[in-house]
Structure formats: structure tokens, C-alpha cells
């Protein structure tokens, strides 16, 4: 993946495919690193199978590739997941701050199309940008194209404002 927004899309799609109804994304831009947390309430999985493939095909490969990619560019990734008790999965990523964020707005818009609840927090120092689809429920569906476009632009404006190199 060429930037963080694509990594987030990849991992969040896994969450949605695991039946998650609530998805929490947090990006924290620090002095030296960018930390990303992805929490979901999906069905979870057995972490020991990560990257080993399965009878169903290449299950778990995306996650294993993401982990290797993070390590190869000087970052790291941790996965916490449980298949019992609907506690879902938590993924923690840490990248050097030079890795570009990319088109995070497009990632968010794509995820919102799945009609899950999405909360996004972007944090840099004292600045916090929050978006919670649960608070946006209104007269129109969030999946309406013009709303998606505006959410996309809003998120990317924030990324540009923070100055973390959106590749638009």
C-alpha cells in the first residue's frame, strides 16, 4: 500500500467483513511517529493463524502483509483479537512520521458506504478532529453521494490543515 489511508482501508474492510457494526479509528500525529488504532466489534479471529492461510484460501494474508510492510518501513503493528465474547479486534500501528497519510477522506467515504457506525479521531498536539457517524444521522442517509463527497473533503481539509502530507 502506498500510504496510510490505504492501510486503514484494508484493515477496516477486514473489520466490516468480520461483521463489525462499530468501527473506531484514531490517528495520532506525534513528533516522530504516527500512531493508528483501529477497534471493531466484529467476530474476531485467532491471532495465531495470522498469515498462515487456511482451507478457505488466503485468509489472513492481508494482515500479515500489512504487518511486514509496517516493519519494513521502520514501524510496527500489534493485533489483539478474541473470538469469544464479541470483544472484537484492536489493531495498533506505529509508523515513522514521514509516511504520508494519503487520501484519508476517500477511505472514510468508502467505509461510510457500508452503513456501520464510524468514529474517527485525528489528533495532533492539542488539536482534535472528530467525526462520528452516529452524531450525523439526520434527514438523509449518509450514503447519499453529496454527503459522502463533503465528508471526504472535510477529512482531507483537516489532514492538510494538520500538515501531514495528504496526497490528493
Amino acid at each position: 500500500m502506498r500510504d496510510l489511508s490505504l492501510v486503514i482501508l484494508e484493515l477496516a474492510c477486514n473489520s466490516l467483513d468480520a461483521g463489525a457494526k462499530n468501527l473506531f479509528l484514531r490517528l495520532e500525529y506525534g513528533e516522530r511517529t504516527t500512531r493508528i488504532n483501529i477497534d471493531d466489534d466484529g467476530c474476531g479471529f485467532d491471532v495465531s493463524t495470522l498469515g498462515k492461510g487456511s482451507s478457505k484460501g488466503s485468509t489472513g494474508l492481508g494482515l500479515a502483509l500489512t504487518m511486514r510492510e509496517a516493519q519494513e518501513c521502520g514501524g510496527k503493528m500489534a493485533v489483539l483479537s478474541q473470538t469469544e465474547g464479541k470483544r472484537g479486534t484492536r489493531i495498533e500501528l506505529e509508523y515513522p512520521k514521514d509516511v504520508p497519510t494519503g487520501d484519508l477522506g476517500a477511505t472514510v467515504a468508502t467505509l461510510i458506504c457500508d452503513e456501520c457506525r464510524l468514529r474517527l479521531d485525528i489528533v495532533k498536539g492539542e488539536d482534535i478532529f472528530s467525526l462520528d457517524t452516529a452524531e450525523l444521522e439526520g434527514e438523509w442517509s449518509l450514503q447519499t453521494p453529496f454527503i459522502l463527497r463533503d465528508i471526504r473533503q472535510n477529512v482531507n481539509k483537516t489532514i492538510q490543515h494538520i500538515g501531514v502530507g495528504a496526497l490528493l
Binding site: 474492510c13 476517500a106 458506504c113 472528530s130 439526520g138 438523509w140 463533503d150 465528508i151 472535510n154 483537516t158
Partner: protein, 112 residues
């Protein structure tokens, strides 16, 4: 800087007179476009294709077109792949699609 929700509510209010694309459309007459978005699809550019389709639906004010994503479609080397469902017809799969091709496919579908 925490003003997103107000911003989006304002946008909503401003757009009140605009058409609502998904309203009053019979699901059985709806064109459904599915974009493959497994690891393979995402790295090949499926997100761009997906958003191009959503943008085009808005730009052309198309009613009765739904765009959704799915996981890996099984032919990773041909990604990005889209599957088009037109009511009453066999589904059609397009491979190695990019934003421009997706928009063209959508234009042809709507014309037909």
C-alpha cells in the same frame, strides 16, 4: 477546529432543495455496481474506482444506481474488478477497471 458535525449539518441544510438520489427508487429496478475491495483490489486502485462511481452518480444526478464494495472477487491479477447487476439481466464483470473506464461503463448503463 472541532467543527465537523456543524459543518456537515450546514451542508445538509444548504442542499435541502437538491434531489435525494436514493429516494423513491424501487430496489427491483435499481442498478447495482459492486467494487471488489480485498487487499488486491485496494492496492490496484479500487478505492479510486469506487469514489469515481459515487462522484459520477452525484454529478449526473443518477437515480436508482447503488454502489457498494465487497471483498476479494477471486481474480486478484485482474483487479480492480467491478460487477454490474442490471435488473432482469445476467450480471456482468469488468476487469482491470480504472476511474475513467468505470465512469464510461456507468454512462453506457444509464443510456441503455
Amino acid at each position: 477546529m472541532k467543527k465537523t458535525i456543524e459543518d456537515i449539518n450546514q451542508i445538509r441544510a444548504a442542499m435541502q432543495s437538491q434531489i435525494i438520489l436514493r429516494d423513491n427508487v424501487d430496489p427491483e429496478k435499481e442498478i447495482h455496481i459492486i467494487v471488489g475491495m480485498g487487499t488486491c483490489g485496494i492496492s490496484a486502485g479500487a478505492r479510486t474506482v469506487f469514489n469515481a462511481l459515487v462522484d459520477e452518480v452525484e454529478a449526473k444526478e443518477l437515480r436508482g444506481v447503488r454502489v457498494t464494495r465487497t471483498g476479494c472477487m477471486g481474480d486478484c491479477e485482474d483487479e480492480p474488478i467491478i460487477e454490474v447487476h442490471v435488473p432482469g439481466k445476467e450480471p456482468v464483470v469488468y476487469k482491470k477497471v480504472d476511474a475513467a473506464k468505470a465512469v464510461e461503463i456507468l454512462a453506457q448503463l444509464v443510456k441503455a
